[in-house]
Amino acid sequence: MNKILAALKLLLKNPLYLLLALVITVLLFLVYFVVNDLSYYRTALSLSSGPWFLWKIFSHHLWLISQATSWANVAAVGLVAALGGINLSLTLLRVVRTKVFLGREGFSSLLGTLGGAFAASCSACGTALISLIGVSGGLALFPLKGLEISLLAVAILSVALYFLGKSLVEFGIAGK
């Protein structure tokens, strides 16, 4: 836990990397939902590309998912995106300061970040990304409607953040 806190404190002390983490978080959150519903967004884009219209499309998508699952599912995907953003930003910080590209956490960080994509849902039945791995019924088949995948991704990314924090402390970049 101390290692995770050390990593988070380091991030807070580096506004540039904090901003990067925020940007990656927002992008991941968007990608997680868009990638699950490409036809929905391409239909929308074929009608209009105005920012207000696209915002309406995206917010409606989130609302649909909250109705079909719960707001907790949407928030969990947000948490996965945030942890993915923090991990990627801190990994970059370490690369810049130490030239070490991947550590023990590299694989789990990547796995958790990619796994988040399967936790989001779509606005139509039968077209979610998870159908690619043979789950034709989508997230509706899971007892918690995909919250399980989000929580698994959160756990994996937390472990990755722990090892990242440990490595940053060992390199003397983050305080103990």
Binding site: V31, V35, D37, L38, S39, Y40, R42, T43, A44, L45, S46, L47, S48, F53, K56, I57, H60, L64, Q67, A68, T98, K99, V100, F101, L102, G103, G106, L110, L114, C122, S123, A124, C125, G126, T127, L129, S131, L132, S136, G137, G138, A140, L141, F171
Partner: protein, 259 residues
């Protein structure tokens, strides 16, 4: 310091596979976002995979119609009564479309069935029940029964509570023994299956608008088709994917009305 150097060398070996992995991910995302791989499945349509604007011919069959039969535009929905997104559309967006476009004679709305197998048997049972209601009271009763199903179903294949179908029929003053006999005898199952077969074949024959999800032609529910009305009973239609907000339907309908 020496240990760090060793660590660095150890991790450095991961650089190449990680770069390949990230590069692969970037390429995969690029393919996805540019509309998928062209998999034109031997049809003679000359379609370009992933084109959301490609028009497809959609038959109205003999399915229930809501609104003025002479309305200039036709909106067809393929519905799964157990799909939560169809439910959201029915309970939230549909009333706005009805008020602005159907009740004003601009659009007629046609409902066709597409129960997804992972929502069965409840999805098909609901589709049959709605057709049984129509057999007694016509298209208007069909749509009233449609509303009743979506108000009562727990969705995702859980269906209506026990006795739910009969209770809905009773509420609409239908002859319940006749209704139950129709439902239990699965009188309209072939009608429902024919709709499923029709749409499944359509996406194979005209894959372009349905190839937007990961390259392969797929379709989910709700699926909509909007086009100018045609006395032949088949419209040349634009595909509208998923439970879009009212604004999307308004954009598409207004654009077509202004042509």
């Amino acid at each position: 310091m020496a240990k760090r150097k060793l660590d660095f060398l150890k991790y450095q070996t991961l650089f190449l596979p990680a770069s390949i992995l990230l590069g692969g991910l970037a390429i995969a995302l690029a393919i996805i976002f540019t509309g998928g791989i062209n998999i034109n499945k031997g049809s003679n349509t000359g379609n370009v995979a992933g084109d959301p604007n490609q028009q497809v011919p959609v038959s109205l069959d003999d399915d229930p119609v809501l609104g003025d039969p002479n309305a200039p535009l036709t909106l067809v929905e393929f519905v799964d009564y157990e799909c939560p997104f169809c439910q959201s559309f029915a309970n939230e967006t549909f009333s706005q479309i009805k008020q602005r476009y159907i009740d004003t004679g601009k659009v007629k709305f046609v409902m066709r069935d597409f129960p997804l197998d992972f929502h069965d048997p409840a999805a098909t049972t609901s589709a049959i029940a709605a057709n049984c209601a129509r057999a007694q009271g016509g298209d208007e009763t069909y749509f009233s029964y449609h509303d009743e199903i979506f108000t009562r179903t727990a969705a995702n294949g859980e269906g209506l509570p026990s006795g739910g179908y009969a209770a809905a029929a009773q509420k609409l003053n239908l002859n319940t023994s006749q209704f139950n006999s129709c439902l239990e005898g699965e009188q309209f199952k072939s009608e429902v299956t024919a709709d499923v077969d029709y749409l499944s074949q359509l996406i194979q024959d005209y894959p372009a608008p349905f190839s937007m999800d990961y390259g392969a032609p797929t379709i989910g529910t709700p699926a909509f088709f909007l086009g100018k009305s045609d006395s032949s009973g088949t419209i040349q239609a634009q595909f509208i994917s998923g439970a879009q907000p009212f604004e999307s339907f308004a954009q598409a309908i207004d654009a077509l009305l202004n042509e």
